[in-house]
Symmetry: C2
Subunit: 119 residues, 2 copies
């Protein structure tokens, strides 16, 4: 395999809320996403999910609290915990989660992407 340059990968797409897969290991995938605006409330029944911020400031809303994330910060959302990401301005982020993770969990929404592209 080749090395993966994050900035180069981010330059390959511009759509929001549509994670792209950049790598896979041990049944887990590494994904990049550009997000802006409000996503939909959802949870992942069987998968913990890691958000790592590359650029911009992301708000993670939970039912009982709100977490603000800046570049160089990460948050691990345990399985089953409802969350909603919000980005006032565009945010670039990296996700680590099982390959089986559904984009919006059990929720089907107009933002739902069924099959993620590799870049």
């Amino acid at each position: 395999m080749d090395k993966i340059n994050i900035e180069e990968k981010f330059s390959l797409f511009n759509d929001h809320w549509s994670p792209k897969v950049i790598g896979e290991l041990n049944g887990q995938q590494v994904k990049l996403a550009k997000v802006k605006g409000e996503f939909v409330w959802h949870s992942h029944e069987n998968e913990d999910e890691l958000f790592y911020i590359i650029k911009g400031n992301l708000t993670l809303e939970f039912r009982d609290k709100t977490v603000e994330l800046s570049p160089g910060e990460m948050y691990i959302i345990p399985k089953g915990v409802e969350h909603r990401p919000i980005a006032e301005n565009e945010v670039h982020l990296m996700l680590f989660e099982p390959a089986a993770t559904k984009h919006t969990g059990q929720v089907i929404h107009e933002l739902t992407v069924e099959k993620l592209d590799w870049i």
Copy 2:
């Protein structure tokens, strides 16, 4: 859980070649390491391993090639593939691998850390 600030975590230790665990999800761990000099040749029989460079330039030697990694670049080493990380100057890196991954694989070396600390 709380958010994890990478720079803050790096400020908590200075030893080389001794990864610290900063998070766990889906049986995988996120680790930070400061490295300098040459590590030992080793492989991980059952675990793929992801290196992501935060600061500095890392050389990853393989038996058949050499890969140079800069900040913002990552490399996924498939299980069973022998490798040796080399850092001419200090490198800060993030690792993503199964919690069961042994530091130096089947190799026991003076650099081997048996049980990694959480920070």
